[in-house]
Symmetry: C2
């Protein structure tokens, strides 16, 4: 295992640099017993840059930076090189390509991606919508939703709804349990906005056993019992058949992967069979 330290230096929050760093670090066997990522947000002066470089030298850290203002970007690059600190400019290369392609100069405003514009408020509204209409609590959400996710317990309905909310879709999710009749409105909703989340019994059993252990319950509960699971999945197939909507398999998939498939379908790039 390797010991690595990465400083995320940004003139805004530092989210972009952090995501790139995490994606790259996941490819290595890194010792995480000690802090790996160190955030240094809101850099706005040469003194801040000097601090970052001192910190990098003292910790033998790599500097990953996202700096938008041209003077500070020039300064950090020059100092990193002068002080021989390993570093990567995350936004610079694409900024340069874009500058060559656009008619006007960039705004050069740090944090502009977080501006409170229409898209921002659409995202906030979608996040609140997904919380409000989680777990099929209120059938009145069915009409207003852009996407309706349907599945048995432990098919990632809640986190998927949140992930899609971050992409500005209003998502309602509806749990299926044989003993509880789903809202009758479910059969009147446009099936084109419904997606069933299927899962294989083995995966589901494993997830539910882990869930029970987490809750401090014995795995002899019917919740994680093969026969019960099959009964629930049969019921799922029956309801989905009636709705006539497509089905996506969530077995062994991360929410980011399933969400990507749902987006492909919803945005018309993928044709999935009902």
């Amino acid at each position: 295992m390797s010991k690595i330290k990465v400083i995320i230096a940004s003139d805004s929050v530092g989210e972009t640099g952090e995501l790139v760093a995490k994606a790259c670090l996941s490819q290595f066997n890194i010792d995480e017993s000690d802090e790996v990522l160190i955030r240094y947000p809101y850099i706005e002066s040469e003194e801040n840059v000097d601090d970052v470089i001192d910190l990098a030298k003292s910790k033998n850290a790599i500097v990953v930076f996202t700096i938008i203002t041209p003077d500070l970007r020039k300064y950090i690059k020059q100092e990193l090189q002068a002080e021989n600190v390993a570093s990567v400019d995350i936004m610079g290369p694409l900024m340069n390509v874009l500058e060559g392609r656009t008619e006007e100069a960039p705004y050069y405003e740090p944090g502009r991606v977080h501006r409170l514009d229409e898209d921002y408020f659409k995202k906030i509204e979608a996040i609140e919508f997904a919380v409000k209409y989680d777990d099929g609590k209120d059938a009145s959400g069915l009409d207003k939703a852009d996407i309706v996710l349907i599945g048995v317990s432990r098919t990632s309905k809640t986190p998927l709804s949140q992930y899609l909310a971050h992409k500005k879709y209003k998502v309602m999710n509806v749990p299926l349990v044989p003993e509880v009749t789903p809202p009758k409105e479910l059969y009147n909703v446009d099936p084109k906005k419904c997606v069933g989340l299927k899962i294989n019994p083995t995966s589901l059993n494993k997830i539910r056993k882990e869930r029970l252990a987490q809750l401090g319950l014995k795995d002899t509960a019917s919740y994680a019992n093969d026969q019960r699971i099959q009964e629930e999945l049969d019921y799922f197939n029956e309801v989905i058949g009636k709705i006539g909507c497509p089905v996506i398999d969530v077995s062994e998939k991360a929410i980011e992967e399933t969400a990507n498939e749902i987006l492909d379908y919803v945005e018309g790039r993928l044709d999935i069979k009902g």
Copy 2:
């Protein structure tokens, strides 16, 4: 306004490239009437790479790529250059720096950042927690939460809770309304995990008026009335004073910015006064 097209080419979902592209594009005045970002996820063969390059040439698009497997990365770079397509390698530069610093070779597994490991399940649990304990619905969450957010209506409690959940913190939020006594347990919770969300009356009034308009209600409702707002904020100050926890100002801030301040405080980097 400039017309720009960017293809996000990835051997996984393409989230990392998309975030970098969005952060850079936000710095330009781009015409968004036509699709700007085109996703091309799950690239796994030279044929897929050829498709991306054909698409880029036909649309005069810039290619932003995150390709982990060395052979494909080499191939896409070589073809992009041969075909004279403008492009940016998002992960390559940092991968190279990390390879120079680590003892073992990278895994070279596309999508490894989405692996279903302990961190992944902690994140999912935190997302579900924030949904379950949203809006102070169940006081039993106070003990289990890592962070308790307290504020009047429209101070971004729900989206902030979700944002922090993505960072694996279990967050409960508690709304304050003068007419409703908050759960008495709130005064027994460790004040170190509580954060009050304050807002200036003018910002709050503006947000609430917009909210009412969105709901199709008239802004004469007391919800967006100056006197009522002051009454709520006085009540907020009274409760927060009793709890003795710090306060963060959310006025005119994006959730990413407020969340960053909360993280600085919770992770011990920032000392904010109560």
